[in-house]
Amino acid sequence: MQLTELSAWQLGDLIRKKEIRALDAAEAVVAEIKTKNEKLNAFLSYDEAVIRSQAEGVQEKLDAGQVLSPLAGVPMAVKDNISTRLYPTTCASDMLQGYLPPYDATVIENLQQAGAVITGKTNMDEFAMGCSTETSFRGPALNPWNQGHTPGGSSGGSAAAVAAGLSWYALGSDTGGSIRQPSAYCNLTGLKPSYGLVSRYGLIAYASSLDQIGPMARSARDCAAVMDCITSQDSKDSTSSDHSTAFKASCYEATTGFNISLKGRKIALPEQALAQVDPAVRRAVSETAAVFKDLGADIVPFDLPYQDASVPVYYLIACAEASGNLARYDGVQYGRQPDNGHEMDLTAFYEHNRSAGFGKEVKRRLMLGTFVLSSGYYDAWYLKALKMRRMIIDSYNEMMRGIDAVLMPVTPSAAPPLYQHEDDPLARYISDTFTVDANLTGRPAIAFPCGINAGGLPVGAQLTGHLLADDILLGLVHAYQTQTSHHEKRPSSARKGEPA
């Protein structure tokens, strides 16, 4: 039996039934990481000793008869913008090299309570700003399906790790598609939960009103099991929802039933979205709609509201918030200070530290955000974007009445080659067209595999649902995955022991 080919819940099951020791799973994953990570660059940090001691700790509790969770003992990876005391947390930025948080994010506390074994921290775009991990201070992660291509981003390291068999599941964060797009590029199922369902305490902020932590795994069922572990109402996060307890009860149920019928469910398909994408993506998404129809769902037409406005509104708001969130990295507490810092006046000192510590894309977005908040521009740009956001939220509320979910592509195409749009930020931003609405509206959205294109690269579809109805989305995708096998496909490089 190849342990690394099991799904997370299958492995958890074996560990719970004492057929496998937690340490065996840990050793298996350590061996894989050691062989493949150097090439894939999926992990920024991991520590064999720390992995083993966690596994032993969990095993002890299990042996003592403690009930932890269905995922107890299953090794998992964490995006490097989620604070952990076990590993440095750097956001893949020079600015935070060597920063070891003195506290754990709430999701980390929840995972540890559930018996998770945290293998390490995964590569990402610097401060989650990017869609390819190319902006990482430590260089990009590679797509296990084709190493000349990006795994996507910003949670690209998490996607590469899970797809390549270096982890059974991973946490990502999603501000404008950063969980869903890499999930699509790497043939994973990834959920951007409803805003507020998962605590943001300890997630290093990019854009506070858009950021959400969520699972990236090999199936909806795995995602549901992870959501069950990480969801909690958190008194340390004022934007945390009080719905988490109810949600935990229903989400696991949604993906454990058999004979799933979608009779009475309504799924909307915006034709205009399909018109804008690669033929392979169009075909895969259409076929997905057909599967849902076979399962009993009604497929109804839909118009994406304000489609041209979504991406600009997203970038205005995200960059504005980021300009505040990242202002603290000024060289006083974080980052490198120049040798002659004491000769500089304060402004020069800040300018030096921030120019040296941030990469190009981060600086671009911070300057944009600073600009739109500046006196004289606030009303014309930022305030207008907030108003547009309100209008987008209102029209989704209006148009999704009676509809359970909207089916869309995740991206217009499969994973592009690395550095394809390096000098054309606008071309990169526009590929967020289908993902940003979920963040702007706070709605949950799930990406899941729906085929492989002619070039051998995965294609993903996406369902957007109702606020705090994440369980419905997980249930829909689980139903789909009982009828299809796209999500079970692995890249050939994921085979055990083979160097990537």
Binding site: S238, T239, G324
Partner: protein, 480 residues
């Protein structure tokens, strides 16, 4: 010659009297070791998030209600962005767009015709404290104060003189203290004021260009800074010059102000709503609850003291000068003491003890129960006021029960007429000259003789008896 009118508006910052900080549970206690009252939230560590301390909103509501502000039904926090080493997030969480209260007012004490409009009251967090260490030539940051809750109270430019401005500050300070909103200790920085000053020709309506004065550390300095700045502006205008809108820093030692660098004047704070803090709904139920638990205001107390306890207007005003005196009065009366007795003791002996000990009224550790017992012993002729004073002095440094102390030390009043008669007789015998003086018509001699008797009894003799006996015996001397 042209005469000018000075127009003044104040921005008062006051530190709230909460146990914990505005967005985390760290303590707000003053004077602790540097950087011992910090956590990921107030240190602005990456990923940490603020959660509003509801007590802050409640204290802010108290002040808003007491100043007749209209309460913003949904109040919001904004980020004020600027770089400074004492500000770990590089933004201060404050309120710009939807402050908790607006359009209030405050009546002055000594200028009863002047009603000062309050533009707004908003909540915000304090920054850390920077100190420059000359030995190592390094700047050190203490983050203990980061996140301590503040209220900013912004007045309209309704004040016309330094005296009015100081009256406004004193009235506001008293109100803040009585409401339990702030202890207003200026030396600890819990009350600070920036002053906006402009001048205009008497009789004109349009406001002149204003300057903002910062860095005044006492009421005195604020008064001086206003007088100085208005004169500076008038001189400048008389010379045909122009006032620049700028921030000026007051230097108390030089008694002068200096314009701050233009860079500091041209700050763009890029305020925007803080996405980490959802809007706070101030519903009617919450406001009603705050209204019901509102402490009595100083002027309410003052009139109650006059009507309920028959204290004079002067006494009532003195006793409501600070919350401690008022609460001492109320508690001592609650322990059974006579209001007039308590009032005169507090305004007399208590404050005298503070003056000679050079301390605040609240620094004396005498408990209301003990004070009540002491005063009751005087009223019931158990001890003389003289004895009471010395017992009180002893009580300042010792935890004692005044009744047992008086009993154990034999300090009770001597009322026995035979004993007293003997004492008086022996004093008269020893003071032949004074007796002669008295008989020659010098009334003063009698006071001296009474004093001698009191001294001989070590203050314990019943003064009324002594007075009577001295008179009697002196009269006997008159007839040989």
């Amino acid at each position: 010659m042209t005469t000018y009118e000075t127009i003044i508006g104040l921005e008062v910052h006051t530190e709230l009297q909460t146990d914990s900080k505005i967005f985390c549970s760290c303590s707000t206690r003053f004077g602790q070791q540097p950087n011992t009252q910090c956590c990921p939230v107030c240190l602005g560590l990456p990923g940490a998030l603020p959660v509003l301390n509801r007590q802050v909103a409640e204290l802010a509501l108290r002040l808003c209600l007491a100043t007749d502000c209209s309460i913003t039904p949904v109040t919001r926090f904004d980020r004020k962005n600027y770089f400074y080493p004492d500000l770990p997030k590089a933004y201060q969480i404050s309120q710009l767009h939807e402050p908790i209260g607006r359009n209030g007012q405050l009546c002055l004490k000594d200028f009863p015709e002047r009603v000062v409009r309050i533009h707004e009251i908003h909540m915000e967090e304090d920054a850390g404290k920077l100190t420059h260490d000359p030995w190592s030539d390094q700047s050190l940051v203490d983050y203990n104060r980061c996140g301590v809750p503040l209220l900013e109270i912004v007045s309209e430019p309704d004040l016309r003189s330094a005296e009015e401005a100081l009256d406004y500050l004193a009235t506001l300070r008293k109100l803040l203290m009585f409401l339990g909103v702030s202890d207003c200790r200026m030396e600890q920085g819990s009350l600070r004021a920036d002053v906006n000053v402009s001048v205009r020709k008497t009789g004109t309506q349009a406001l002149g260009t204003r300057t903002e004065m910062k860095n005044m550390n006492s009421f005195k300095a604020i008064g001086r800074a206003i007088i100085h700045e208005s004169q500076r502006q008038i001189d400048l205008l008389n010379e045909g010059g122009m006032i620049l809108q700028e921030t000026r820093r007051w230097d108390e030692n030089k008694e002068m102000s200096f314009a701050m660098r233009s860079k500091e004047n041209a700050q763009d704070y890029r305020y925007f709503p803080d996405p980490d803090l959802p809007p706070v709904k101030l519903d009617k139920a919450w406001i009603d609850r705050v209204r019901q638990n509102m402490p009595e205001r100083p002027e309410q107390k003052q009139s109650r003291y006059q009507h309920e306890w028959r204290l004079s207007a002067y006494e009532a005003e003195q006793l409501t000068d600070e919350p401690f005196l008022a609460s001492l009065l109320e508690q001592t009366i609650a322990c059974g003491a006579n209001p007039a007795d308590v009032s005169s003791w507090i305004l007399g002996e208590w404050l005298q003890a503070c003056r000679s000990g050079n301390c605040d009224a609240s620094d004396l550790s005498v408990q209301p129960e003990s004070l009540a017992k002491l005063l009751e012993m005087i009223r019931n002729n158990v001890i003389t006021r003289t004895t009471a004073r010395s017992v009180f002095t002893y009580m300042l440094d010792h935890q004692i029960d005044p009744e047992s102390y008086v009993r154990e030390h034999g300090l009770a009043m001597v009322n026995d007429l035979d004993d007293l008669k003997q004492m008086v007789a022996s004093v008269l015998e020893a003071s032949e000259q004074s007796v002669k003086d008295y008989l020659a018509g010098k009334e003063k001699a009698k006071t001296y003789l009474i004093g001698q008797v009191m001294r001989k009894s070590r203050g314990k003799a019943n003064p009324a008896h002594v007075n009577k006996l001295v008179e009697e015996l002196l009269e006997q001397h008159r007839q040989p």
